[in-house]
């Protein structure tokens, strides 16, 4: 593994009206790794994701991706740069069908529709549309979504909705994928299936930053674990080291 991390978060601070959600948080995610971020409820994990994906502007600190400073970019610019995410509370677009939802993920990678394609579209000859559809279907396949693709996502189970959201994020061809509790609500069989999918995604050369409460899953999957508690990083390292870290045991594992 190379020395320069893919994502380098340095000294990030976020407060909500006086409440310190993140306090001087630093974290490095190595390329092509599966990096887990764990911590008790309200530790600030989602907030850190929001900062990394640009939805929340940090009050202090800096963000680097591929050694390029990107603090202050808009979320859409960050996606184009190569960071995509899902949401802890699923946020699919209700009026769009499953496949259209995933197609939205492809937008940043699509060429413009030519006038010819626009006119011939009703005849099924729109190249851009076909490209997006194929790619979206491929992503749904990758996350092992087996449901109806033409129906609205609200008809799907929560587990399937999470899969669709991961597919939507993957469709943007991200180098770094942020997954916020993707296994929430999954049974053990589904969770281990998801572990396999995450490995597969890593196998495609992508990097995964994973927030997950399922500690069994985290420790079997992750190359690196960072522990966040009350807005502060309290431990970081390989799973075996973190597992035995006394601060972690008292702050986090002890409570579970």
């Amino acid at each position: 593994m190379s020395d320069a991390p893919l994502l380098d978060v340095t000294g990030v601070g976020v407060t909500y009206g006086g409440y310190v959600a993140l306090d001087d948080v630093s974290c490095r995610v190595v390329e092509n790794s599966i990096h887990a971020l764990i911590g008790p409820n309200g530790a600030g994990k989602t907030t850190l994701f929001n900062v990394v994906s640009g939805l929340v502007k940090p009050e202090s600190g800096s963000l680097q991706f591929r050694e390029r400073q990107y603090t202050g970019l808009r979320p859409d610019q960050i996606l184009v740069m190569g960071i995509a995410r899902n949401f802890q509370q699923v946020r699919l677009f209700p009026v769009l069908s499953v496949i259209e939802n995933v197609m939205v993920g492809c937008h940043s990678r699509l060429p413009r529709t030519s006038f010819r394609d626009f006119v011939l579209g009703p005849l099924g000859r729109d190249k851009v549309d076909r490209l997006a559809r194929e790619r979206a279907a491929e992503m749904l396949d990758l996350v092992e979504y087996r449901g109806d693709t033409k129906a609205p996502p609200s008809q799907m189970t929560l587990v399937d909705q999470r899969r669709i959201e991961i597919a939507r994020a993957l469709a943007s061809d991200p180098q770094l994928l942020l997954l916020d509790e993707p296994a929430a609500g999954m049974n053990p069989a589904e969770a281990s299936q998801l572990s396999e999918i995450i490995r597969k995604i890593r196998g495609l050369g992508r990097t995964v930053l994973l927030v997950e409460h399922n500690t069994r899953m985290v420790f079997s999957l992750a190359d690196e674990v960072t522990v966040l508690s009350a807005g502060k990083i309290i431990a970081s390292g390989p799973p075996s080291a973190v597992k035995s870290d006394s601060a972690v045991v008292t702050a986090y594992l002890g409570n579970v």
Binding site: L55, A84, F93, V95, V104, G105, P152
Partner: protein
């Protein structure tokens, strides 16, 4: 084929369909406008002043649409940051300002308006423009732009996180709506042959808004049906004589209560 009564009815229906589309497009991105009459006025005056200088009709129409779109984008750039009811109020204010502006523009005839506009709008012109705009809107959903517009309407945060440029998408939707209203204005001016600022006031804007809410904003058919109902129903109700508009008003209230999502093309519920 048509006598002049049905023809003029058909033309005004077509123009109303365009006005309905002009509300529909921005509404797909969650931008509700109660000021489309203002853009219609801009299109009407621009094109009428141009054809008076012997500019070809098609070119004048396009210019009217372009000016309306340009102003739409300029107005919307700061305004799309505000939402919901605030945006409705802002567009309403905009419509009024345009009306007042034209009252005070000497070269546009001021309060007494422009008369002697050349009769260049034909039924087929209107039908053609309606079909073209309708087709574009119908096709929109299969384009990245259309999906982006819908995504922005559903969930701005998620849309932005998926790489959609919020501001740009909203401006295109709003500017596009303004352009369609500008087209409608151009067609209107060259059929009515006389325009004055009062024709494009609040009631015009409210009417266009009603087309869409009545018909439903789930797909482009909704606005067409809404425009049909509002344009044709008063004609059908002629036997009620003086009370037909009252009856129509009661129907409006009934629709609001029993068909709040629109008559045909209800949009599935989502956050707004």
């Amino acid at each position: 084929m048509f006598n002049s009564y049905t023809e003029s009815l058909a033309v005004f229906f077509g123009i109303n369909v365009l006005m309905a589309f002009s509300v529909y497009l921005p509404s797909s991105a969650g931008l509700i406008s109660l000021g489309q009459g203002g853009f219609m006025a801009i299109g009407a005056y621009t094109s009428a002043l141009l054809t008076a200088k012997d500019v070809p009709f098609a070119l004048a129409l396009a210019a009217g649409a372009a000016v309306a779109a340009l102003i739409g984008v300029l107005v919307a750039a700061p305004a799309v940051r505000i939402r919901g009811i605030y945006l409705i109020i802002a567009t309403l204010g905009f419509g009024e300002i345009v009306r007042i502006l034209f009252i005070n523009l000497e070269f546009a005839g001021g309060a007494s308006g422009l008369s002697g506009i050349r009769p260049l709008t034909t039924l087929w012109y209107v039908v053609g423009v309606c079909f073209f705009v309708g087709l574009c809107l119908w096709r929109l959903r299969t384009l990245t732009l259309g999906r982006a517009i819908l995504a922005v309407h559903e969930d701005e945060t998620a849309a932005e996180a998926m790489g959609i440029k919020l501001l740009q998408t909203k401006l295109i939707a709003f500017g596009g709506g303004a352009a369609i209203a500008g087209l409608a204005g151009g067609l209107f001016a060259h059929y009515a042959l006389f325009i004055d600022p009062e024709q494009f006031g609040f009631s015009r804007s409210a009417e266009a808004f009603l087309f869409v809410v009545l018909g439903g904003s789930g797909n482009p058919l909704g606005p067409v049906i809404g425009a049909a109902v509002v344009t044709l129903l008063p004609e059908v109700l002629r036997f009620l004589q003086d009370w037909r508009m009252s009856f129509f008003a009661v129907l409006l209230i009934g629709c609001a209560i029993w068909r709040p999502g629109g008559l045909v093309a209800a949009r599935p519920p989502s956050r707004l």
